[in-house]
Symmetry: C2
Subunit: 386 residues, 2 copies
């Protein structure tokens, strides 16, 4: 029984759906019309009205894309939904705690939905960047003061950044660190978002303040806004099955970059990307480094896989290939995820599936993977009761 | 000693550099000026003249990109070269056989260089498609009648196609099959080449004639013309280390497509993509299929990993992760490659490295991987001496 009752499952990759008033509750009066708000619209198929976000004059359907917790795969779909079509745990933190208890999950990082996984929406879709900054701050205040405040020892606050302005990023990281933030969402690649790459010195102040405040960068697959689409006619299943290649790309992109050389205390969590590919990719990256570093702008005396072991964390739900290869990945680099309320999640049976997945793994390794590594990564510990 | 002396190494992924007269020797007089020809040009750095291809009024530098066999990694580079900078085995089939003997390699598939891995150059860079067709036929005639004819039991002819016209593809496959071709290069994805995807019925006649003539499609990484580039400033090492993700993408693209359902005898060889990622990706693809097939245009009663085992072959040089996970990949789906004369190759020590890589693998598995699977895939057997 390798997953002992005393081991607390900490999911480093869950998702929250912002309730309709996240921004209207917080933005100054002058921004209430432009800021994100939910509008009821007639359904084009004649059913119940649908609910869509409006922001800065643009319409964003699919409020709860992939928020399928509680449904059977036979009922899955990708169409926009109404709040009434989701279980309340999607958007209500108290209901979420009940759902986590039901699932046997103790703690969780939640990624944003409407702002996109790394808050890229406010960078890409804004005309007014004063408004956009207010929206970023409002989301982070909602996350820390409203969502995580419901159960501060169970929710790990991971904030979004005003990515278009690194000075504002630095200020927002400091502001949120002071009120308890534990991590920072960051795009797996900034280039598709039309932002400078991590090979420039553009992000140095941001990465330095992340180091200072001891907060990892959480790079969720898809956060670059460049989903792996192979053909216009290919079903979405192709993209879903290939999303992990975005995390592979982020890994090579990071390991050959100056980032970890300039920021020796920076940590990166690759979110939802799986881990089964890690041994193959590190072997390939090291082999490339062995042969091609001489004539390229690559650090010549530090092996990329050593950087991986020191700086990068992967996560998985039930990656059989990854667990078999765990010693080649590195137990300290592996964390667990639930993915509530998305379609990869086993909710409300996550703990039962984890027991099955970890059946042949020694206790101490399981404990590191499901709980201890995440606590260390996010500096997230139960404080003594007052 | 698991790699027994009796086992013949067959490389399913080597490369030839076309000598300067491949097309001038064969094209009709009227095309001699437009067809591919080598021009000596002064070097911009003041050194010896460089040699570049001209085709249909366009200039193509880098005649021997990555043709580094015989050099040490410290001497590698990506600059264009002269024929005199390469060892003759790059472009001379008799010298190649000598180099293969030196390397302990018995048989080899060679991919084209100037026409690109799947002949995409003639599709993408031609103004005159009558000329382009003559160039495709000339390459295939060179390959079969000049290159492979030097040692027909050691060279496996894998032809290129006039991809812009499926009727011409069918004719060319039949024409070349009749003179001994054993395989067909095909892009890992046709969409980036601005050709219809394999989700349409566009390629059905081509795939049917490949089945009829018992020739696998060889999909070399990079043959889609969409290299994995993460940032303008990222060193080429990032792209090199991520090329295998193109093969992963090709795998998901194929397994969710109608191709293997419509063409139950079609085989696909993924060339140079490694195999260490296969267990992770098949698990992910099957999981996606389990959960998402109900509402998507995906075949519902055949598991994608079963299709993989029946139809797809991977290859590798010394993929430690892949060899450890070989039972999850499937021994019958694994083949070996040398990659002469490119930078991944261990030439002239390939056999020695293979001995090391296979040291802990049972003999019968090694034999399948290094020789027997490739013979079966390409229907390539030593014929009895007359």
């Amino acid at each position: 029984m390798p997953l002992q009752p005393s081991m607390k499952l900490i999911s480093v990759d869950d998702h929250l759906i912002e309730h309709p008033n996240v921004w209207t509750d917080r933005l100054p009066q002058k921004y209430l019309d432009q800021g994100p708000r939910i509008v009821d619209e007639p359904s084009s198929t004649g059913g119940a009205p649908i609910q869509v976000w409006y922001y800065d004059g643009k319409r964003f359907p699919a409020i709860g894309l992939n928020a399928v917790a509680g449904k059977k795969p036979e009922e899955f779909g990708v169409e926009p939904v109404r709040y009434a079509d989701m279980i309340p745990g999607c958007y209500d933190p108290k209901a979420r705690i009940v759902d986590m208890d039901l699932d046997g999950v103790y703690g969780a990082v939640n990624f944003p939905s409407f702002p996109r996984f790394a808050g890229g929406l406010f960078t890409k879709e804004s005309g007014d960047f004063e408004l956009a900054l207010a929206c970023v701050q409002a989301y982070n205040d909602f996350l820390i003061d409203e969502w995580c405040a419901v159960a501060p020892h169970r929710f790990i606050p991971v904030i979004i950044l005003p990515l278009w302005d690194t000075d504002r990023c630095v200020e927002e990281i400091r502001r949120c660190a002071a009120k308890g933030a534990k991590g920072i969402t960051f795009p797996e690649n900034t280039v598709p978002l039309e932002l400078p790459s991590i090979y420039t010195d553009h992000w140095d102040t941001v990465f330095s303040v992340a180091e200072e405040t001891n907060m990892p960068l959480c790079m969720h697959f898809g956060s670059s806004g460049s989903p792996p689409v192979t053909a216009p006619e290919a079903p979405y299943a192709v993209t879903i099955s290939l999303y992990g290649t975005n995390s592979m790309s982020a890994t090579a992109h990071l390991l050959f970059s100056p980032v970890f050389h300039r920021h020796p205390n920076l940590k990166v969590a690759l979110s939802e990307g799986g881990v089964g590919w890690v041994p193959y990719l590190l072997e390939r990256i090291d082999g490339t480094w062995e042969r091609h570093r001489w004539y390229q702008n690559v650090v010549k005396d530090i092996r990329p896989s050593d950087l991986f072991r020191k700086h990068i964390y992967g996560c998985f739900i039930d990656d059989v290939a990854g667990l078999k290869a765990r010693y080649d990945i590195g137990i300290p680099n592996m964390t667990w995820e639930c993915d509530y309320p998305h379609s990869d999640s086993y909710w409300p049976h996550s703990r039962r599936y984890a027991e099955k997945a970890f059946a042949d793994i020694p206790d101490s390794e399981v404990h590191q993977i499901v709980e201890l590594n995440a606590r260390k990564l996010f500096n997230f510990y139960d404080e003594p009761a007052v």
